[in-house]
Every structure is written in structure tokens, then in C-alpha cells.
Symmetry: C2
Subunit: 175 residues, 2 copies
């Protein structure tokens, strides 16, 4: 698989400002690094947004982070298909080829306590294994299956570029 | 790739008990769900260990979690190769085919502040993109590339089994 050229965005539902900042930041950075165009955060959290914008400034690219107040209406008005990542869903590799047919794709990630309505609102409910693990891992594998790990030059506008190195760090500053 | 049949274990360095419990738990659960045999946690943290053992009890399998006091000597005495996951390393897809030749594979994940010695001690330093994201995402993609996402029946001894479902939850209890 991989090689999907449509737009992929991520919706994170049920973030708890003050409690989850690291995990939600990991989700947003994973979305950014693995080729999603935007991260929609419900509820909005200016602290997380600031961190991601700081990474954008240093590492470049056009990734967007946006706050969402009403996730239900957000999902209902999504123009393509939505894929809810949950250990209770159908197998990833069975579903992605179908989900790709209706771009743009919205990947939806909840927390431990997801409202049951989400299972109905989602176009697909998809599992990355039926074992408990991590929404960060599930998002990473799904993006990899859809888009593939980006290679090549740093994103446009990068101030910092990291080059592959067998030992230690090779960092180039573009100023 | 994928399909590697050798043993894969994970070493987490620089965990901060009391500060990182969720992130480290996500790492350990990702290791378990994606086919690693063991998670070595430096320094030891009984709270995280208890959570993982609870998941083992309910979901089955033979995954081990073990505390590590001296990560340097642990790495030096590792019988196979070690692969340190870092955004500064060489590209994952270039390195994994070589790393696989010397089983068992130890995947090493640090935190934000990794001792520079680790870059020397590791058999390989490997990047899953050269952008900042998440050690959980990096571990997930590396395990997927090595082993592939497990499918099929629940692990041996499972009390709970989750079945694929297009909507809602299908949970079987084996008692």
C-alpha cells in the first residue's frame, strides 16, 4: 500500500488540557512528520498549538493545527471519509483500500473514554491490532500505510535540517 | 520487508518515574501489541510494570517487562545487534535489512535528553524521518517494518478477546 496522494488530516477528540499535553503533542507531531496536512484538536489547547507552531517554524512545511469546539458537526461536515482508530474496529489492511476511494481522509483518534456516538459517525472503525496499545502507534501505522514515510529534502521554509548520520548529530541551519 | 522471525526486544532508557508513566506505558504496550518479546525499562518502575502485567493477564501472551538498573552494561552484554531510534540516525529502510542479520534485535528508545554515549554504544542509529515526532511512533513503525502487524487469534491465555467489528464493540470473555 502507501503512495496515497489525497489529503489526509487528523482529528483528536477528547483531549484533556493540562492532563494530556505530551501525548497530544506526540500525536500532532506524528501527524506532521508522517505527512498529514492538518491536526484538528478538540477541545482547542493554545499550549499544544504553540508547541506545534514552534516546530513548524524551525522545521518548515505547511502543517496546520486548528482547534475544534464541536467535533460532531466537524465530522458531519467533513467532505470525504472518516476513519476512527480503535482496537474494536475492523482490520486496518482490510479497510484502508476502501477508505482511500473517498478523499480527503480524516483519521479520528479518541482517548480512553470515547463517546459511543463516534462509532456511528465514523465512516469506518479501524483497528491496528485488537490489543491495547497507543493512539500514537495506531496513527503512525495508519499514516505509514496510507502515505508512506516521507524521504528527501527538508520541508519548505525549514530553518533546521537534520541529515542522516551513523553516529551523533548532523544539523544544518538555514538562516 | 516485515516477516522477521528472530527475537525483538525493546530497551527504554531514561524513563522518569512519576513524570512519564503514560508515555512509557504506551511504549511498552506498543512493544507488546506489535510482537516484541520483552520491554526492558530503565530505571525500573513498579507502577508501569504492574499495568503491563495486568494487560498480559487479561489479553494473554508471554510478553515480559523487566527493570534495568545499568543500561550501559545491559547494552554491552546484548548478544545480537542494537538499534537506537533517533531522528539523527540513518534512514530506517536502509538499515533494517542489515540489522536483521545479527539477531536478536534490541530496539533502544531514549527520551528527549539521551546521553551521547548511546550513539556510540548502539549497533545502529536509525531515524524514522528526520523530523521531531514521538518515540512511540518510531517504535511502532520499526516493529511493523521488522515483524509486521500480528493478525489471527488472541494470544495464548487470553481472558478477553476483541473481534473485528464495523460498529461498536465485540468482546469475548474466555473464563
Amino acid at each position: 500500500m502507501a503512495g496515497y496522494r489525497g489529503r489526509v488530516e487528523v482529528l483528536r477528540i477528547g483531549h484533556r488540557p493540562g492532563r494530556d499535553p505530551r501525548l497530544t503533542t506526540h500525536l500532532a507531531l506524528t501527524a506532521r512528520a508522517l505527512g498529514a496536512s492538518a491536526f484538528h484538536l478538540h477541545p482547542p489547547d493554545p499550549d499544544v498549538a504553540r508547541q506545534i507552531e514552534d516546530v513548524n517554524r524551525r522545521f518548515g512545511g505547511a502543517f496546520r493545527i486548528e482547534g475544534v469546539r464541536e467535533w460532531r458537526s466537524f465530522m458531519k461536515s467533513w467532505p470525504g471519509t472518516s476513519v476512527h482508530l480503535t482496537m474494536y474496529g475492523e482490520d486496518l489492511d482490510d479497510i484502508l483500500p476502501r477508505a482511500k476511494l473517498t478523499p480527503p481522509v480524516l483519521l479520528v483518534t479518541g482517548g480512553a473514554k470515547v463517546p459511543s456516538e463516534l462509532y456511528q459517525l465514523a465512516g469506518y472503525n479501524v483497528a491496528v491490532t485488537h490489543q491495547p496499545h497507543s493512539e500514537v502507534a495506531a496513527l503512525a501505522l495508519t499514516l505509514d500505510r496510507l502515505i508512506g514515510v516521507p524521504r528527501g529534502p527538508a520541508p519548505e521554509g525549514a530553518q533546521i535540517e537534520i541529515l542522516p548520520s551513523p553516529r551523533g548529530k548532523r544539523v544544518v541551519e538555514h538562516r
